[in-house]
């Protein structure tokens, strides 16, 4: 039974690579037929399907049923790159992309997403004959991993771990057993076959939802910026998992997040546009997602607003945006009542590294002075909510200047009130993994959070400003819009930072987030924005949004498996 599940039983009948089990995915029936014929001529075992969704189902049903996947890039129900990511994350199989479009950027994207090869149509026989090398190479690497020193130790660990499971726990399992159990079985099998690399069964880790959640949790705890396979492995505390497993999974995860980030960015922009007609004071500021800025009224932003909204979102804050958004954490807490002079550019620049988006706050050079933010008290905002960051991201040098300068900070008193009420806590920002904010703080340290000064990333500031501005106006409409925008941004940010589960679709995600985030009574629709300041303060009061709180929240909400994949594709079943 273990052998049967190993998936290597069939190919082993003939001499490798004959019998290689290939899954071909292409929506073009002509190509599907041709490829099937060609692959059969190579003596491979071929399964065809014309829908990405179907392919994923097949792969999930028979976790070890295929050796390699060949997929077209353009498919109606799902982007080939998305499928690629899923296969990589869930099944860890080699994937070859195909397309009639051979543009370098596309090919590069394929490689970035983890494709082990990118074939141009029309495909020749000799190209297909060679695909077995990808399977072989992967197998070798896995064996090598196991045999490496660290791997050896982990095997020792797993061995003892297996003992716990031994006898009936997993061996009896078949598809009904958890992936982990199967993994144990595989590992055990692998251990025995270590000496014979060529026949060793691949110690393929099945990244179940649970396992992946553990992984993401660990990543968030460590901080996306500081993350490393060893650290993650230690935190995850899964005995049979090796550092190499984690390393390769981490790589895929990063890619996945970056893609989501980009998608959300696009969405954000779109959403931002929608808000443009909001009665914003002068918001010319075109934040990435822009418009959100527009909505910022002159009043002192009720920071809570934005933040509360983003509670759930916050979690999604992309850490990726490290470079840019970071600032947020330290939101302008500089002077109380005074304008928040957030120096947009600032330290973020240093930070931004992997920001997938290029909006480094740095670009937000406009020294947006958030005058209104009087931040006597360290702004406490649930950062996660700061989707604004997202804005930033999108928009190239945010025309924050415009927006912000326009923000006529309301009288200090107002600000004060707001500030006090919001109590936006910057702490969460400390969590690097959380988002850019965190990023920013990362190196700086928690203390930096409060002092707004230069530390505050422009983004943060901006976001904060925006939020507060929006809040202050507190027009339901405005708020709603901002909220939405914020959320989206937050989502994006979160995604970027890879903190939370990638919420592929902004709107979807937002809704889900919001629904889950109990803190937001706000509906997605503008009309129902009841996110009143009152609510927010309450929310705010909840903060200090401790990092871990967020994490918890995050996990509760974001790591819902269905959410994770479902949101993304609706595939995860």
């Amino acid at each position: 039974m273990v052998l049967a599940e190993s998936g290597f039983s069939s190919p082993r009948n003939d001499a490798f690579p004959a019998g290689l089990r290939v899954l071909v995915v292409d929506d073009d029936p002509t190509w599907l037929k041709i490829l099937e014929k060609m692959l059969k001529k190579c003596s491979y075992e071929v399964t065809t399907c014309c829908l990405a969704r179907e392919a994923l189902n097949l792969l999930r049903e028979r976790k070890d049923g295929y050796d390699i996947v060949i997929s077209d890039v353009n498919m109606p129900d799902m982007d080939g790159f998305k499928l690629l990511e899923h296969v990589g994350l869930e099944m860890d199989l080699p994937v070859i992309m195909m397309s009639v479009d051979g543009e370098t950027s596309r090919v590069m994207k394929g490689v970035q997403h983890g494709a082990c090869d990118y074939l141009l149509k029309p495909i020749r026989m000799k190209e297909l004959r060679n695909i077995w090398q990808h399977v072989f190479r992967k197998k070798i690497h896995e064996v090598r991993d196991i045999e490496s020193l660290e791997g050896f130790e982990s095997i020792q660990m797993t061995r003892s771990g297996y003992d716990l499971f031994d006898d009936g726990h997993f061996l009896s399992g078949d598809d009904t057993t958890s992936g982990r159990k199967r993994k144990d079985a595989d590992n055990k099998h692998d251990d025995r076959e270590l000496s014979d690399p060529s026949s060793t069964k691949k110690a393929r880790v099945v990244w179940t939802v649970d396992l992946h959640q553990k992984f993401v949790k660990a990543v968030n705890q460590i901080g996306f910026d500081k993350v490393g396979p060893k650290k993650i492995l230690d935190l995850m505390n899964v005995p049979w998992l090796t550092r190499e497993n984690v390393a390769s999974h981490l790589q895929k995860y990063r890619l996945y997040l970056s893609r989501l980030q980009k998608e959300s960015d696009i969405k954000n922009s779109f959403i931002g546009m929608k808000h443009s007609d909001l009665p914003s004071k002068d918001s010319t500021a075109s934040f990435g997602p822009h418009k959100a800025m527009n909505m910022i009224p002159d009043d002192v932003p009720n920071g809570t607003y934005s933040f509360s909204a983003s509670n759930s979102l916050a979690q999604n804050v992309d850490l990726k945006g490290q470079g840019d958004l970071k600032g947020i954490t330290s939101a302008p807490v500089a002077e109380p009542k005074g304008a928040l002079s957030i120096d947009i550019h600032d330290s973020h620049e240093a930070k931004s590294t992997q920001m997938s988006f290029d909006h480094s706050l740095g670009s937000v050079d406009s020294a947006v002075s958030f005058a209104s933010f009087n931040s006597t008290t360290p702004l406490q905002y649930p950062w996660t909510e700061i989707p604004e960051i997202q804005f930033k991201q999108e928009c190239e040098p945010l025309h924050l200047e415009n927006g912000f300068s326009q923000l006529p900070l309301p009288g200090p008193s107002m600000i004060e009130n707001e500030a006090n009420r919001s109590r936006i806590e910057v702490k969460p920002l400390l969590d690097e993994s959380r988002s850019n904010f965190v990023e920013h703080l990362g190196p700086v340290g928690a203390e930096d959070l409060f002092p707004i000064q230069s530390k505050s990333q422009s983004l943060n500031n901006q976001v904060f400003d925006l939020i507060s501005a929006t809040k202050s106006s507190m027009k339901t409409q405005d708020v709603g819009l901002n909220y939405l925008a914020d959320s989206e941004f937050a989502l994006r940010n979160l995604n970027a930072s890879g903190v939370g589960v990638p919420l592929a679709t902004l709107s979807e995600d937002l809704q889900i987030c919001w629904l889950q985030g109990d803190c937001y009574p706000m509906n997605y629709g503008l009309q129902d924005l009841e996110c009143s300041t009152n609510d927010n303060p309450a929310l705010m009061a909840e903060t200090p949004f401790h990092l871990y709180d967020v994490l918890r929240f995050d996990h509760e909400h974001l790591f819902d498996p269905t959410e994770y994949y479902a949101i993304d594709q609706g595939l995860f079943a």
Binding site: D28, I34, K37, K40, P122
Partner: protein, 153 residues
């Protein structure tokens, strides 16, 4: 025997002309090589699939371009891209070339240009279909006369 030879020569000549005139390219030859005893009608089957797909895509494009209230060029472009991929599967070079031009018009959101390309694509597709049907008929005749299909390189 003579009949078979004649037919075969006809077949070769016709094939060559199709290649020369750009209706078919090397991919078609590859398809012919794939045909074997396991799938003796492979090429005909693939061609049928292609024609079906082509018609469907052309209809999609026509419908999308007809929209008075605003053409969804992205949709048209998606269909053209699919057609391009499809045409590359059997080596329909001329159809593919029109697709390339078609895509530029889509990008430029030029409805007139797109409509023109649609016309061209429809024309090329019909031509190709006729020619392939002639070729297949010749093939059938050769086989019926007891001969074998020569492979044209």
């Amino acid at each position: 025997m003579d009949v078979v030879n004649q037919l075969q020569r006809q077949f070769i000549d016709y094939s060559a002309s199709l290649h020369r005139e750009g209706f078919l390219d090397d991919q078609f030859t590859q398809l012919q090589k794939l045909q074997d005893d396991n799938s003796p009608d492979f090429v005909v089957e693939v061609a049928s699939l292609f024609f079906e797909d082509c018609e469907k895509l052309i209809n999609n494009m026509a419908r999308a371009l007809e929209q008075q209230q605003g053409v969804d060029f992205k949709q048209v472009d998606a269909s053209v891209h699919q057609l391009k991929g499809s045409s590359s599967s059997i080596g329909a070079m001329r159809v593919k070339d029109v697709c390339i031009a078609f895509r530029s018009f889509c990008e430029a959101q030029n409805r007139e240009g797109c409509l023109r390309c649609l016309q061209q694509v429809t024309h090329e597709y019909s031509l190709l279909k006729n020619k392939l049907q002639t070729l297949f008929r010749l093939q059938q005749q050769i086989l019926a006369a007891g001969g074998s299909i020569p492979v044209v390189e």
